[in-house]
């Protein structure tokens, strides 16, 4: 049931929730049965959350809740009351793609793109847990996400490229510990300093 749920009839029970979505607090009243995926898309305008199966297999709706990846179609909005939620919209800063997004672009790790938000978020969690994953760790880390277009090869390449970029950015940044927030909002200056000289402006070209 991937769709808007704005109007509520009187007969339907509601609860108030306050959720931090990409750093901004959202307080609203929702039906207890409202899925987090629909909450983010319809109540918060975060339509980069894609809904592919609504039974927790495809992973297109993957978002981070308090730093952990969750399938937002299997989570109710009321369950994340008081939590920090990050969607794919929370990654790019000032128009610059996050290194993970940029790596997906450069490695042609997306075609139709419907799975991409989920893969990017799953990759983010993976690289925070394991900044230098080998191929097997990548396969394990992304095993809960389905892509129907790419055959995964270029996604593996993108994860490796992103890992190298993030490690590079961390070094350039003078040994910052690489916590979630630093990685999440990699300063745009860092992107310009990348050793390969690309500008990171991605698909605007």
């Amino acid at each position: 049931m991937s769709s808007e749920s704005s109007s509520q009839s009187l007969a339907r029970p509601t609860e108030e929730v306050t959720v931090s979505v990409n750093g901004e607090d959202v307080t609203t009243t929702v039906e207890p049965r409202l899925k987090l995926s629909d909450f983010l898309r319809d109540e918060c305008g975060k339509r980069g959350v894609r809904v592919g199966c609504e039974h927790g297999v495809c992973g297109a709706c993957t978002v981070l809740v308090d730093g952990r990846s969750v399938k937002s179609c299997l989570t109710y909005a009321v369950q994340v009351d008081g939590s920090d939620v990050v969607t794919v919209e929370g990654l790019a800063s000032d128009g610059d793609l996050h290194p993970i997004q940029d790596a997906f672009h450069r490695e042609h790790a997306l075609q139709c793109g419907f799975c991409t938000s989920g893969f990017v978020m799953a990759t983010k969690e993976l690289l925070e847990r394991d900044p230098d994953p080998d191929r097997e760790a990548i396969e394990d880390g992304l095993a809960d996400n389905i892509c129907r277009c790419t055959g995964y090869q270029n996604i593996y390449d993108a994860v490796e490229t992103a890992a190298a970029e993030l490690a590079d950015a961390e070094r350039t940044d003078g040994g910052v510990s690489g916590g979630a927030d630093e990685l999440l909002h990699a300063p745009s200056d860092d992107l310009e300093d990348r050793t390969d000289g690309t500008d990171g402006s991605g698909g605007d070209a």
Binding site: M1, S2, S3, E4, S5, S7, S9, A11, R12, E31, R41, D42, R47, G48, V49, R50, V51, G52, C53, E54, H55, V57, C58, V88, E89, L91, A92, L97, Q101, F104, H105, R106, H108, Q111, C112, G113, F114, T116, V120, I138, E139, D140, L142, A143, N145, I146, C147, R148, C149, T150, G151, Y152, Q153, Y156, D196, G197, T198, G202, G203, A205
Partner: protein, 824 residues
């Protein structure tokens, strides 16, 4: 090796600008990506007009039943209910949906009888989807169950009819003969007969079908946003049931569609119902997005489900003299368009082999399952699988190496262009060289110490019950369908002999470009897209043709009312059709720009004006006018010179050798991309599990317009082929209930199933196309299933087991090995 020939040219635009190099042929990064990666892309589920309401569908829980009573009163009594619709509500003002064969027209909601689990019976509309689904729960449907027809055997031998009025469950069949088939089978030294089965599969894109429809009360017309595929070809499937003329029903497809692979061609039911609901609600926009369970069980989107019998006639030296192939295809409850996928294999009927005598027969069979639609490969994938299975059996019969057997029969390069007995033509390629190369690659890398096929390792693994095998084979990908062969099954075939070449409906590719005041070149495709990167491709092609940068080009799509009826983005067409269409349109624009500058700026003759490097100038180079300025100059003119449209004729219609296929309505696919594959598999004979250790492939799709995109298409196609070979299947139980209605049951390849792909490319340009490109949207899905199955057969040679049913699930492998051991 996987990087060979595929450069992901970061910063290619800067290089090209400075050096004047071509963008075509570069791995230009995709222009589509940024909006997708940032979450800004607009898919159908993002389209939400103010005040939109939501539809949900009550669907049949039985495969075959009379509808005794459909009671919507409880739903209507619910305070959230805005509308309910049943078949009876449709009959006064609307029409049934057209079907692939005449006589099977159906109402978009089941009328009197349901014929598959998941068939929509009632539509309900509420303010939001949650409420709409509440209403579905309140709909009461009383059924009287009928015997279901659940397989081909029951359909052809039993008494139950899926459609009583038709008098048969086999509404379409044909047997075609080309060459002296009986002679070949009588005279050949050997004949083998192989039975094999191809499981019911589909594309299962990550995005399901969706629609937002709005009726315009002022103009008595409809605007329908939908992720339907081929919206400028199949718009009749929407306007006909609405009983409106085409110009009153505007279909528009979002620039971002979450995959289709053919499966969204036949989603007109949803478009129709949403539009009717909006009309009944006085123009309130109505939205419907299929959920995954609906999609899998009743989404009209299953594909080929075939039982094959293939006979091969061949001599003792291995030469194949004749091919005789028959299949029954379980089409489900309705023979929806595209029924013609039973015919497409004729375009590559002998695969890469030189065989003169071919018999090709099929039965299109109806059962109580959801209907078929198109899926990447369009019916050729099972054909290649069946043919290659028979080839393996023939080699085994002769006791010779299957690679040698294949090599003996390959079409030779000096036979190109090669005319198939079925009248399609392969354009170019050196198949023996491709086979030699893939064998050499595997030999060097794997049949050696430390390699996957190191004889010592292979032997040691056998001791553990793990059998490794590899199969080398060459496969054809027929590309760029065109013309009107697609309606052969609705044609009186006897009359085709009289048909003249001029009677052929050629369906050219329509394309438009216009200059904007800011210097942007806006391009319009007359079709839709679903992830293939057409915006990037058009940017590359036009940048070269117009001497501008890809970033100067914006690519958009025409809605159905503004576009002519054309074939569109299917059948591996767009690389070739856009190559011609962009060049034709660009040439027209360049001429017009010269005329405009001559008349409005220079006051000279056209012959004194040249178009150079994205601007017009006097031939002596003394004055120069940029494109942006021309757009402004043109703005006031009656006849706009900076807006051009162009219709690119399908390549086959310009080559006389295709005339026979065109007039006889045989499939016409004028490009033959090809692949030589060598998957290395390991079969655990204890568990039945098959692991593909590595997938070697050498691919050739002519000139690569964008090597990065070509590689991506191959990767993705191979992944789908691996799914088809090992995992994916829409099974039904004996009562007609679908067993795969979630993604827990219909298994898609994940990171845990996909092997490493070692890919190499060669480029043999097509002599038939503008750029030398060949169609390559389907390749891996066409050839990987046959290749993987053949490798399994090779691995299990000692057991004399043949991979004669796919997907080769562990259960099926185990059963075959067990049976083989019992026989010994």
């Amino acid at each position: 090796m996987s990087e060979a020939g595929v450069s992901k040219d970061v910063g290619v635009e800067d290089d090209a600008e400075s050096e004047g190099q071509s963008f075509v042929g570069s791995g230009l990064e995709r222009v589509e990506d940024h909006r997708i990666l940032t979450g800004e892309a607009e898919y159908i589920h993002d389209i939400a007009p103010e005040g939109a309401v939501h539809m949900a569908l009550a669907r049949s829980v039985h495969p075959h039943a009379e509808l005794v009573d459909v009671d919507t009163s409880a739903a209507e009594d619910h305070p959230d209910c805005l509308l309910t619709l049943t078949a009876d509500d449709l009959k006064d003002d609307y029409e049934p949906m057209p079907c692939g064969l005449e006589g099977f027209e159906e109402w978009s909601l089941a009328d009197d009888r349901v014929r598959f689990v998941g068939e929509p019976v009632v539509a309900v509309v509420a303010s939001d989807r949650y409420a709409a689904e509440d209403l579905v729960d309140l709909v009461e449907i009383e059924y009287e169950q009928l015997d279901p027809v659940t397989d081909v055997q029951e359909a052809t031998e039993g008494d139950t009819l899926v459609h009583e009025h038709a008098g048969t469950n086999v509404p379409d069949s044909e047997t075609l003969e080309f060459g002296a088939v009986d002679d070949a089978f009588e005279n050949a030294d050997n004949v083998v007969e192989t039975d094999c089965e191809w499981g019911r599969i589909s594309g299962v894109p990550l995005e399901t079908a969706g629609v937002v429809a709005q009726y315009d009360t002022d103009h008595d017309s409809f605007h329908i946003d939908s992720n339907i595929q081929l919206h400028t070809l199949v718009d009749d499937t929407v306007y006909e049931p609405l009983d409106y003329p085409p110009e009153k029903v505007n279909l528009e497809v979002p620039p971002d569609v979450g995959g289709s692979f053919g499966t969204k061609i036949a989603i007109h039911r949803y478009c129709t119902l949403s539009a009717i609901a909006s009309q009944q609600l006085d123009g309130t926009p109505v939205k419907f997005v299929e959920d995954r369970v609906e999609n899998l069980q009743g989404g009209d989107m299953h594909c080929s489900d075939r039982e094959y019998t293939v006979r091969l006639a061949f001599d003792d030296d291995g030469t194949i003299q004749g091919l005789d192939t028959y299949f029954a295809d379980d089409f489900g409850a309705f023979p929806h368009y595209p029924v013609n996928q039973v015919l497409k294999p004729l375009s590559a009927v002998t695969n890469a082999y030189d065989i003169d005598a071919v018999r090709y027969g099929y039965d299109l069979v109806l059962t109580n399952k959801t209907a078929q639609t198109a899926y990447r490969g369009f019916g050729v994938d099972p054909h290649l699988y069946a043919l290659e299975t028979a080839v393996d059996e023939a080699a085994r019969e002769l006791g010779i190496d299957p690679t040698d057997f294949r090599r003996v029969n390959l079409i030779q390069p000096d036979q190109m262009p090669y005319r198939l007995p079925t009248h399609n033509i392969y354009d170019s390629g050196d198949y023996p060289a491709a086979l030699d190369r893939i064998e050499e690659l595997v030999d060097e890398a794997e049949v050696c110490e430390g390699g996957l096929l190191d004889p010592d390792v292979v032997e040691a693994k056998r001791e553990e019950g793990k059998y490794r095998g590899v199969s080398y084979s060459v496969h054809i990908e027929p590309g760029v369908s065109g013309s009107d062969w697609t309606d052969r099954q609705r044609t009186e075939t006897d009359a085709l002999e009289e048909r003249e070449r001029e009677d052929v409906d050629e369906l050219p590719e329509h394309f438009r470009i216009q200059l904007e005041g800011d210097g942007t070149v806006r391009a319009f495709l007359a079709t839709d897209t679903s992830g293939q990167g057409h915006q990037t491709l058009v940017s590359q092609l036009l940048a070269d043709s117009l001497g501008v940068l890809p970033s100067d080009i914006e690519v958009d799509y025409l809605p159905s009312v503004e576009a002519p009826t054309e074939y569109g983005s299917a059948a591996s067409r767009m690389a070739v059709m856009l190559s011609g269409a962009t060049e034709g349109a660009a040439e027209k624009l360049r001429e017009n720009c010269r005329q405009l500058a001559a008349e409005e700026v220079f006051g000279c003759g056209v012959e004194d004006v040249a178009y150079r490097d994205g601007a017009v100038e006097r031939v002596d180079g003394s004055e120069r006018v940029p494109l942006a300025e021309l757009a402004d100059l043109d703005a006031g003119r009656n006849q706009r010179l900076t807006r051009v449209s162009y219709d690119y004729d399908h390549p086959a219609t310009k080559i006389d050798d295709f005339d026979e296929a065109l007039t006889s309505k045989y499939p016409v696919y004028p490009t033959a991309a090809f692949a030589a594959n060598a998957p290395i598999v390991e079969v655990d004979v204890t568990t039945g599990e098959v692991e593909i250790l590595k997938f070697y492939t050498l691919r050739d799709c002519g000139t690569m317009l964008n090597p990065t995109i070509v590689e991506g298409q191959a990767h993705g196609g191979i992944a789908q082929g691996v799914g088809a070979a090992l995992m994916e299947e829409f099974q039904y139980d004996g009562e007609g209930q679908p067993k795969a209605i979630t993604l827990f049951d219909y298994l898609l390849p994940s990171t845990k199933n996909m092997p490493d792909i070692e890919m190499e490319h060669t480029e043999t340009p097509s002599p038939f196309t503008e750029t030398g490109a060949k169609g390559t949207g389907e390749g891996g899905m066409l050839d990987a299933p046959a290749s993987v199955a053949s490798a399994i057969t090779a691995a299990l040679e000692d057991f004399d087991v043949v991979a004669d049913q796919i997907p080769m699930t562990p259960h099926r492998v185990r059963r075959r090995v067990r049976d083989a051991q019992a026989d010994d």
